[in-house]
């Protein structure tokens, strides 16, 4: 407490950032290596499997050579890493297009979907959980709590693709309000985004409610009341940031699962994104494409996790020293 100018590396925030970036880097390396090894872990000759039994041995050999599959493993690994840095992710076995190009074409649609779903989940979950927390504080409104929690459990347990089917049937088939396939404009976003966001929103708001109830009983909230701040200021400025911190700690991984959730949702709605690509590529054994897309998804998840950490550090400076 007496040392006023700690060195840069001693600052908790800097150390926190360094730790998190290290973890990100290590995870990234594991991811890259896993996606490289994927091709080699497939039993048998993946190229033969991809091209089918009728393909000529010449063609198989030619493709094997193009992918460098006959080189020593370490050399292949080195080439793979080099390719990543130069944006060369090999070419698709079926369409012969560069994988990087396929990803470049497909990624924006997936990103739009994921970002919109994130935003919706948070915009719904935060006010809902916070308000429910305030309403049910100190064991008040038990019936409301029971209804909310039960509904949250049920909605949160419905997987996105099942919800998709129900939404398609009600809003697309029965009422014919919304398009059910393709990406054609704002209206076409509604169903996929809702289907993707509802489950995580339900779970997050449930966590937030519980955290809010706990935080509202905390001493510093009593202090805020002792300052006679208006109720809204007490809850929004003093309780909510603290409740959000613990909610993010518990529910941050959920946002990562939404990245993977896009795969299912895209396939229901024929969304022209990576999700459709990866499934058709797995079915078509187009391994270079699968490798590239898996890598993109993995990086997306890691990026989301890193963002959650940053949000945590901003919301609660203590989180930067807590785990030190």
């Amino acid at each position: 407490m007496t040392n006023p100018t700690p060195g840069l590396l001693d600052r908790p925030t800097v150390r926190f950032a360094a730790r998190r970036l290290t973890r990100f880097a290590v995870s990234l390396w594991v991811l890259v290596t896993a996606s490289f090894l994927m091709l080699h872990l497939i039993p048998g000759d993946p190229i033969r499997a991809a091209l089918g039994m009728n393909a000529s041995q010449d063609l198989v050999n030619q493709r094997r050579q193009a992918l460098g599959l006959d080189d020593p493993l370490l050399l292949q690994y080195w080439d793979y890493l080099k390719g990543l840095f130069t944006g060369d992710l090999h070419t698709s076995l079926s369409s012969q297009l560069p994988v990087a190009q396929i990803i470049g074409e497909r990624l924006p649609a997936t990103l739009e979907l994921a970002v919109a779903a994130f935003a919706l989940a948070i915009v719904v979950a935060v006010p809902l959980g916070a308000v429910m927390g305030v309403i049910t504080r100190n064991g008040r409104a038990r019936r409301a709590e029971l209804v909310f929690t039960t509904a949250g459990v049920i909605v949160g347990a419905i997987p996105e693709f099942v919800l998709c089917v129900v939404l398609v049937w009600i809003l697309g088939v029965q009422l014919q309000w919304l398009p059910v396939a393709g990406k054609t404009g704002f209206a076409s976003f509604v169903l996929p985004v809702v289907a993707l966001a509802v489950g995580p929103a339900a779970i997050l708001s449930r966590i937030l409610r519980v955290e809010m109830v706990a935080v509202v009983g905390a001493d510093y909230v009593r202090t805020a009341r002792a300052k006679r701040l208006p109720a809204f200021a007490v809850y929004a400025k003093h309780a909510l940031p603290n409740a959000l911190t613990s909610t993010l700690t518990l529910g941050g991984l959920l946002l990562g699962t939404m990245v993977a959730g896009t795969v299912l949702v895209e396939n229901v709605f024929a969304w022209p994104g990576l999700g459709s690509t990866i499934v058709s590529s797995i079915l078509g054994k187009d391994y270079p494409v699968v490798q590239g897309v898996v890598l993109v998804y993995g990086v997306g998840v890691l990026a989301v996790n890193l963002l959650v950490d940053v949000a945590l550090a901003l919301l609660d400076p203590r989180s930067t020293i807590r785990e030190a």
């Binding site: 594991v30 994927m38 497939i42 459990v153 347990a157 997987p159 510093y220 006679r228 991984l253």
Partner: protein
């Protein structure tokens, strides 16, 4: 609780019963489904394609004229079977990875744990897709993929549980006795974490069911001609315009089975951790009928204050007192005497479900009983400062200290951000926080305990306080810091003319700082007297016992105040008559039958006792525990 009864306890909750029943039905269907409906499900009938529900086909028929209901029922077996197989893989792999710390050397275990920590950050679906590529498309590859995809999360859970058990003595003893690693794990560790593992396996099975449905839905799981719910769902979706029920029926089946497994796990978890504290019923006392006359010019004036909590119990049972301008009044008592509740009640900080009633509660001449919180907001916000017991938890950890102080002036005096912050720095300086300007920009966790308590006091000074209510302000602090904080409070009271209501269990603290003292016992004031008379002039046996038991400022404060024989009764277990009677050496029959009223017995004095000690008596002090003068 024996393990068996814990299981049944889990199953007695309404959710447990529902989930358990549904699960049982699903399992029975999984066994019987293919046997009973198999032929119906595969019987194509071109004449009856895409029919609506009828008595023949109560969910209609699909595009080949097959009975949809029968197909969904038959698919139960494969769906459940695959989910359980995948769960078995998850649990096995998760256990092995999670228990690596026990099974293998430290080096390897650390590597495993690092790997698990990285893998767990990736969503299971992504891992499942990864493994599906390796193991190939199909039911078998799907089981392996989903099973392994769940392993990191299960391993992480196992790790945590094992780490908790590993520290226990019996594990160490088993190790020292030379028992093999596998045996230690199976014999000594697993039985102790079995319940948590079972719960999570059940929830995991629900997840695996949904994941498998997803995989099949994408066409990566079960392949034709076999079908599970996921595949039915996928096929149904393709024809949703023609026959929506073909998609909806398997959707409903997936949801029901998934929820049943999930809730079954949750119910088990609740049952295993079941501890419901039973609330004791207490005797509510009728509110007292008389109140003391209003004190003139008092900062705070309270009459017949009663606080009721659900139960109902009454931690404060009708007390009167007032605090004059610039006066410093102490309230002492053991924990459970209602002193802190009193402080919070007069500061209007008790929230529901606590109920505060009084015949008079006025602050600076304003009646706090009428009008909403809103009407008194400014009056209390600027005129009443509150200092709480634990400075470690009373400041908001996510906001800078300066901002937390400045907020008061911004809210109530409409100051700009900048001038409010300047005022906050000034007040921090006034409460002797060194380097106030820099400190104002820091977060509470960068402050020491004593410094935080000063910041709290500074917060109380942000308005123009007429009264500071300090609830055990030094209890959580180091001995050396205690005195500094008390000195600070004392000097604010003397020099700035701010009245002080000081709540403490420590009679020496009150004696040092206060002009007048209220002694509380079991929710009532039992004696009021000038602080100067505490040492020799106390008349209530309880006050005398407190004094006798109190160390003076020089003795070790860490000793508990346990020298008064017996224990103070809580508000839920009050005896008849005088609440102190069971511990009182002077108690007589009348004491045990009737509660003595608090009556004035001299200028500035009140006592509630049938047999007050009029002259200082050595004998009483000795009976109270230890001789002390």
């Amino acid at each position: 609780m024996a393990r068996g009864s814990r299981w049944s306890a889990a199953m007695r909750t309404p959710i447990g019963v529902c989930a358990g029943t549904v699960l049982l039905v699903v399992l029975v269907l999984a066994v019987l489904g293919p046997i009973v409906w198999s032929s119906r499900a595969s019987q194509a009938d071109v004449a009856a394609m895409l029919q609506g529900p009828s008595s023949d086909h109560w969910a209609g028929t699909d595009n080949l004229g097959r009975d949809i209901a029968a197909r969904v029922l038959v698919a139960t077996r494969l769906s459940i079977e695959l989910a359980l197989l995948a769960t078995a893989i998850t649990v096995t792999a998760g256990l092995v990875l999670g228990a690596a710390g026990v099974l293998v050397g430290r080096r390897v275990a650390r590597a495993v744990s690092a790997g698990v920590n990285i893998a767990v950050a990736f969503p299971a679906l992504l891992l499942a897709l990864f493994f599906a590529v390796i193991f190939g498309v199909g039911a078998q590859g799907g089981v392996l993929a989903i099973g392994l995809a769940g392993a990191p999360a299960f391993a992480r859970l196992t790790q945590t549980l094992v780490a908790g058990i590993e520290q226990r003595d019996f594990v160490a003893a088993a190790r020292i006795a030379g028992i093999g690693r596998v045996r230690v794990l199976v014999r000594h560790i697993l039985p102790n974490i079995a319940e948590a593992l079972v719960v999570n396996a059940a929830i995991g099975a629900g997840g695996a069911l949904l994941a498998f449905a997803g995989l099949s839905f994408l066409g990566l799981g079960v392949q034709a001609p076999d079908y599970d719910w996921g595949r039915l769902l996928g096929e149904g979706l393709a024809g949703i315009y023609d026959q929506p029920i073909a998609a909806l029926a398997p959707a409903v089946a997936v949801i029901i089975a998934g929820l049943a497994l999930n809730l079954f796990g949750e119910a088990l978890a609740k049952g295993f951790g079941l501890t419901t504290p039973r609330l004791k019923m207490g005797r509510p006392t009728p509110p007292p009928v008389h109140g003391a006359p209003a004190a003139d010019g008092a900062v705070l004036d309270v009459a017949d204050l009663v606080v009721t909590l659900p139960g109902p119990i009454q931690p404060v049972r009708g007390i009167d007192f007032s605090v004059g301008r610039g006066e410093s009044v102490g309230i002492v008592g053991e924990s459970g005497s209602g002193k802190s509740t009193t402080a919070l009640a007069v500061a209007r900080l008790l929230a529901e479900p606590a109920r505060v009633e009084a015949t008079r509660l006025s602050f600076l001449g304003n009646d706090l009983l009428t009008g909403s919180d809103r009407t008194h907001r400014r009056l209390l916000g600027t005129g009443l400062g509150v200092v709480f017991q634990d400075p470690m938890t009373s400041l908001n950890p996510t906001r800078r200290v300066g901002g937390q102080l400045a907020e008061v002036a911004r809210q109530h005096d409409g100051l700009s951000r900048r001038s409010a912050l300047a005022l906050a720095v000034e007040k921090l300086r006034a409460v002797r926080v060194p380097a106030a300007e820099r400190r104002a920009r820091q977060y509470p966790h960068e402050f020491s305990g004593g410094m935080r308590q000063r910041a709290m006091i500074g917060m109380g000074l942000m308005g123009r306080p007429a009264l500071i209510v300090a609830d055990e302000p030094t209890t959580a602090l180091d001995v050396t810091v205690q005195r500094q904080v008390l000195d600070l409070l004392g000097s604010i009271q003397r020099e700035d003319g701010v009245a002080l209501l000081l709540i403490s269990h420590d009679v020496a603290v009150v004696q040092q700082v206060c002009d007048r003292v209220l002694v509380m016992y079991a929710g009532r004031i039992v004696e009021e007297l000038p602080a100067a008379e505490l040492a020799v002039g106390a008349r209530h046996p309880y006050t005398r016992a407190l004094m006798a038991a109190a160390p003076d400022m020089d003795t070790d404060r860490d000793q508990p105040l346990a020298c008064i024989p017996g224990r103070a009764p809580g508000p839920e277990e009050l005896p008849e008559g005088c609440a102190f009677a069971p511990r009182c050496s002077r108690a007589s029959d009348v004491c045990r039958q009737e509660d003595p009223p608090l009556e004035s017995d001299g200028p500035g004095r009140r006592t509630a006792c049938w047999h007050p000690v009029i002259a200082p008596s050595i004998v009483d002090m000795e009976t109270a525990g230890q001789g002390h003068e």
